[in-house]
Amino acid sequence: MARVVVDPITRIEGHLRIEVQEEAGRISQAWASSTQFRGIEIIMEGRDPRDAWAFTQRICGVCTAVHAIASCRAVEDALGIRVPPAGGLIRNLVHAMQTVQDHVIHFYHLHALDWVDVVSALSADPEATASLARSLSPWPNNSATHFAEVQGRVRRFVESGQLGIFTNGYWGHPAYKLPPEANLMAVAHYLEALDWQRDVIRVHTIFGGKNPHPNFLVGGMASAINLDDTGTINAESLTKVQGMITRARRFVEEVYWPDLLAIASFYKEWASIGGGVENYMSVGDYPDSGQWRDADSMYFSRGVIFDRNLAEVLPYEQEEVREYITSSWYEYEGGDEVGLHPWEGETRPRYTGPEPPWTYLQDHEKYTWMKAPRYQGRPMEVGPLARMLVGYASGHTDIREVVDEALGRLQVGPEALFSTLGRTAARGAETVLLARRMEQWFASLVARIRSGDTTTFNGDRWEPSSWPDTAQGYGFLEAARGSLGHWVEIRDGRISRYQCVVPSTWNCSPRDASGAGGPYESALTDNHPLVDPARPLEILRTIHSFDPCMACGVHVLDATGAEVTSVRVGG
């Protein structure tokens, strides 16, 4: 048996440490440890609730926008504010473009190097590469000239001996299986995606002034619409947005999705590796009406799947959530074994690990800053796979179509989705769907403007004097990485309690009181190879398939201990 430590895990957001035990080329046990803590929610107390979106947005600059929108929804829910439809549609566009851009960056810049050997691209034939690429897609840059140029750059780079970020990569590892031509095609698109991402994300700049961290507003959006002014949302800015949506869809359909399916076809054994926990959850999102509380209008539906049973989708009930700290560096008044609902949550950070520098954490009962959320006592996977499974099992027409297309191309059944490869494919499938759906939301926005409805902000409850003495609300959102929830309590015009339950907290959760590990840990021990412990490429494949976001995942609950006597339940 070998103990293996991978710290830092790179090509993720934040700070993650993975420890495993390897036996005969397989992983027998795994521990996921989040090694950063910031305490944002403690900082929220006493603040103006209208400012909360800006603070919580800084939980993460990779999933920028998602915490801000969830926060606005929570405060609007608490104060009874309805966002005007045009404002809601703008939020859909900002949110969807965030997810589309984030997923493409994840595939090419964070995940691809787990499957693509950059050095192997040197021996590719540019003509054969062009033939391969043209057989997959009509993308105009798929020419032999272009691929030869990229290959020349890569050759000079490698020959220089100054490899920069490629230094000490696992090049030549036996787990790399793509032919040189597929490697070259992926490297070329890696570079194209860098240019593409900074173009399409400017939807955030037009509606929110900048990216990362665009601006939002409780009650709607601050970007006023006036077709007859140079400094507002007008025909010029709307035309730009339309162009970005078009270019986003084209790249996703002609580059990302074909590349993903082509690469996946060489790694089909990964469709039976890294499945992990068998439970999936989605809170639903993207209201076609622009009204988040209008659950029926959500493009991605809400639901829970247990034991990989696609024959039954159960309703999601937020009161079924509990958080455990059995393995986390916190303490509860009631002891380490109990689970608490977020409304009753306690946070007392208490570090009990070894004194740094560490060698191993796996010998310690507590080993992470991440808590362990559970739904009806069970660990749940959230994210693109969970969303696609809930939709697939619910008979969602669009989701069925694109997921079946992928399964057909790979010649596998739906059971292949419960895997490392399934997770990566599901991310691509939902990117295709969102890139297409943005056109509809944009058309709805334009139709509203044409009909004279240009209102983007509801100011009826803007002034604190219009608020009740106490109020509670929650806001949910399907972020790129999974189900996100913000809960807020307001007293006398100020935040008295603020809580977030975040996608990576679900996925990176440690062992709970029953000893059940979280999704990362379970996936790493599910039929999982590790051929060379000194070059842990397989660990990166499965961990990256979740797209970890550690800054999001580590959060703390209310530190005041204020009792909440009436809990509003719903959603």
Binding site: G39, G164, Y190, A222, A559
Partner: protein, 392 residues
């Protein structure tokens, strides 16, 4: 792009030779240098010297540490405006350690960092995003099993120059907002024996980061800094003095409520909380994301994110600054920033009121400026340190 750009750069090669081989024409290069001279505020007459210096520069090693942060600053660099300029600029360096993009992981990248620091001791450029938590012996951040404090100290030792990118590395940012549960501080509180350049903002504009690196490579020194360590070429002027909506401020044309008639005419956002009068930032000039727009341009008030302690001194974000002094553009960030932060925190409002506000108030029948403390509970620890700085 910073690292992945796979252009070869052999060690014996100068930038001039390198660009030549890449097919960048001299005309393109000069044009780019001219733009950069304007951005850096040294004037286009300096272009020939910039061209000479840059052509001779050799590719230095860069070690990028990511401490207690959200990765937004790395994302901002990825959005550096013009692809050609961005590629050229980031191709100037050998990015030998960078968590978000490196191919390897764990021991492999820690070894790459150790090699880069050893081989380039005294010569590498250290870029840091994120703050350092000091409470409880720094246990709130570990990388490779070592505390952030430990990792930073080691990397700083052999660095030729240190650039703190973003509000977290600058002063701690959101995790340092009161009550600062982890004791987060900016890196210039740790590194005391030499200057740290602070690229302020949450996040900063990517172009400011890259321009600072080029300044260092071109002139062999960091740009001139203000009292907070911020480069003057980017942070030398108030938003209020560069704002396209300044004419509306002077004319008393204010947005009174979001989406009102004034908002739909793109009037001044002062009354809905704009912190532009207290904020030194190049946002209105450089703009964001390939010059697409900027926060005020998109209708939202400035939240003052380039200023130290802005999460406490600039909040509530939608409350009007207590007063706007009639400072002209010639006043420095240190004087105005300190005056506004201290004045606001203490609820002192005895400064002169800008003429535009007086006019509008008189017209509206407002009896006078109402002093609204921006911060109801001053973060005393932070203020003390600010006061020390402005005094010192």
């Amino acid at each position: 792009m910073m690292g992945p750009t796979p252009f070869a750069w052999s060690e014996s090669e100068t930038l001039g030779q390198h660009l030549d081989r890449r097919g960048v024409t001299r005309r393109e290069f000069i044009s780019w240098c001219t733009d950069l001279c304007v951005v850096l505020g040294v004037g286009s007459a300096f272009t020939p010297e910039m061209v000479r210096a840059l052509q001779q520069v050799r590719r230095p090693s860069v070690v990028w540490l990511q401490l207690q942060e959200c990765t937004g600053c790395v994302e901002s660099v990825l959005r550096t405006s013009d692809p050609t300029i961005g590629d050229l600029l980031l191709d100037l360096v050998s990015m030998d350690y960078q968590h978000t993009l490196m191919a390897g992981a764990g021991d492999a990248v820690e070894a790459a960092k150790a090699t880069a620091m050893e081989e380039n001791f005294g010569q590498y450029l250290l870029i840091v995003t994120g703050s350092v938590p000091l409470e409880d012996d720094g246990i709130y951040l570990t990388i490779g099993g070592r505390t952030g404090l430990d990792v930073l100290g080691e990397a700083a030792e052999g660095a030729a120059a240190i650039i703190a990118v973003g509000a977290c590395a600058h002063w701690g940012s959101v995790q340092a907002a009161r009550p600062n549960p982890t004791g987060a501080v900016g890196i210039d509180r740790i590194i005391r024996d030499r200057p740290v350049v602070n690229i302020a903002g949450c996040p900063p504009i990517g172009d400011v980061i890259t321009a600072t690196v080029v300044h260092y490579l071109t002139f062999g020194a960091m740009p001139a800094l203000d009292g907070q360590g911020r480069p003057l070429f980017a942070y030398g002027a108030r938003i209020h003095d560069q704002c396209p909506r300044r004419a509306n401020f002077d004319a008393g044309q204010y947005v009174q409520k979001f989406d009102d008639e004034g908002a739909r005419k793109a009037w001044c956002l002062y009354e809905v909380g704009c912190k532009g009068p207290a904020c030194f930032s190049p946002c209105p000039i450089f703009q964001w994301n390939s010059h697409t727009d900027w926060p005020i341009g998109a209708g939202h008030p400035c939240i003052g994110c380039t200023e130290r302690n802005f999460w406490d001194t600039m909040t509530p974000f939608y409350e009007r600054l207590p007063n706007v002094v009639g400072f002209g553009v010639e006043r420095s960030a240190d004087v105005i920033g300190a005056a506004l932060a201290l004045g606001a925190a203490a609820g002192v409002g005895a400064h002169a009121i800008a003429t535009g506000i007086q006019r509008s108030r008189a017209r509206d029948g407002d009896p006078g400026a109402v002093v609204l403390p921006v911060v109801s509970t001053p973060p005393e620890k932070n203020l003390e340190s600010d006061r020390e700085e402005s005094d010192g």
